[in-house]
Amino acid sequence: MAEVEETLKRIQTHKGVIGTIVVNAEGIPIRTTLDNSTTVQYAGLLHQLTMKARSTVRDLDPQNDLTFLRIRSKKHEIMVAPDKEYLLIVIQNPSE
């Protein structure tokens, strides 16, 4: 438990990281470093997108599965590490 906290803190204090969110299988955020409304927004949208991405990968090849999702936009980079049950979302500003 303490290791989880330590790792989350380390990720959060990494250069350029804006926020970190842990989401469960239903899209409900469990841990977050952002404010409530932003978290809910990110969690909901990214959960849906991850589901869609995963189903795309599996439709193309049923033996395959989604391992990492990275969205690069003009301002940020959103990284999603998906799992069967959870999602780890990290938003980073890569120009810093």
Partner: protein, 563 residues
Amino acid sequence: AEALLQSMGISPDIPNGKDTHTHTPPHSSASEGNNRGNVMLPWDPDPCALQLHSDSELLGQGFRLGMAKVTQVDFPPKEMVSYSKETQTPADTQTHTQAKPEEEMADPKPAEDSQEEKADEEEKQEEVLPKELTEEEKMHLLNSEEFMAFFDRGSRIVERALSERVDVCFDYSGRDLEDREGEMQAGAKMSLSRVFSDERWSKNRVVTCLDWSPQYPELLVASYNSNDDAPHEPDGVALVWNMKYKKTTPEYTFHCQSAVMSAAFARFHPNLIVGGTYSGQIVLWDNRSNKRTSVQRTPLSASAHTHPVYCVNVVGTENAHNLISISTDGKMCSWNLDMLSQPQDSLELVFKQSKAVAVTSMAFPLGDVNNFVVGSEDGSLYTACRHGSKAGISDVFDGHHGPVTGLSCHSAGGPVDFSHLFISASFDWTVKLWTTKSTRPLYLFEDSCDYVYDVMWSPTHPALFACVDGSGRLDLWNLNNDTEVPSASVVVDGSPALNRVRWAHSGREIATGDSDGQVLVYDVGEKICVPKADEWTRFVHTLVEINENRDEGDELAAQRLLA
């Protein structure tokens, strides 16, 4: 006012005419008085009355000028009173969250009461659901096995991704090229590539051992002894560092209760890391488990080791291998990695049936599983063998004047076999070159001015070896070039004592650990570390020269003795 008017040439006659209509003056003598009295009328200050009179006298008379009172009125600008009310919460969210319930409240209003209640309940439930999860089930979730497994994997990937700064969208046309980090040092001899250090786990500890993974050339394990400043932290730490990614945190963190004096990747078990500790226990860590503590430990009993274990090594082949460990009381045990509860075999290393050898370093020649070399605390070197009738110490070498700190057997395979050569480093400031065929040293390297802590042959170049000493110097000696001075040398920033040196399996990089808990990895220039085809034959010649010099030296010494 009358006088003024008269002076202006306005006679009061005109009102007379009016007055004769209205009044019937009894006598004309009083006409003046009447006039005066009648005159009073037009001086009526009432502006309306004045206006009336003046209008009636417009019969060619012109305007009547009258005194008008000028009143100055000063109107101040109308103050616009405005209120600016500060909100405690950001305006956006407030309006946002306020809008929601307002909308929801507004919508069901016209509807039935039951619907309104439902909407409220639903809204409340939605708000409450995450709260319930976070308060009650959060701990449960975060402590569950699946979450730990997910988080271990996910956080590792994310940390690597976070450290990568590759910008695939970079536009070369629109902007100037950014300065590249890391200068081009193509011709340089040795350049610092990475420094690995962890605030929590490696600070204030001495790096006691280094080993590169045989399976993944980018992984490096470093073991550390205890941190005197942090008595509550575990005494022994082993960290696995990853060269491939730019992240600055260790790939895996392991610890145990006693200071780790030696560590190695288990050669035929890619997931296991072996550590020899100060208490004599040998611990086994597995990177498949989520725990940071060891998965297996040898017992602290007389059958195993009870003294610090400075040497651990896996020797053998895939199907027949053993873990060999030697402690400072001279006991050598060989273990089966699957069963660490008792050693498979143990042997007391004693010299001449009496003196136990306090082993501080050990080396196996390339390809040999039976014969090996050990160095001891009193400065002597011994060859020994594990099996056979003469199991135990075989020969003693003249040795050093101080404890032996490092031993390395020649391991660069090539057209000529030099596996009889080995080098030793010691507290007596020297490195000595030996051959197993003779008890006298072949050569003495005396370039250092401090304790030499470790030495290692290059795995690829036959005439190249590295040594580190207590003044922070890392020296590379190329015996084909020069045997008097190192061919390349670098001093680490801050001059900490360098405790260990290890070549990577590729022979292109060197890792060294210092007394501050830092692991520094240097890239070695191609000109130095890449052997040319004739290096082996050149080394043969070099050895011949060395031998001749030694023999000459011996002859001279013998002559002097005789004379």
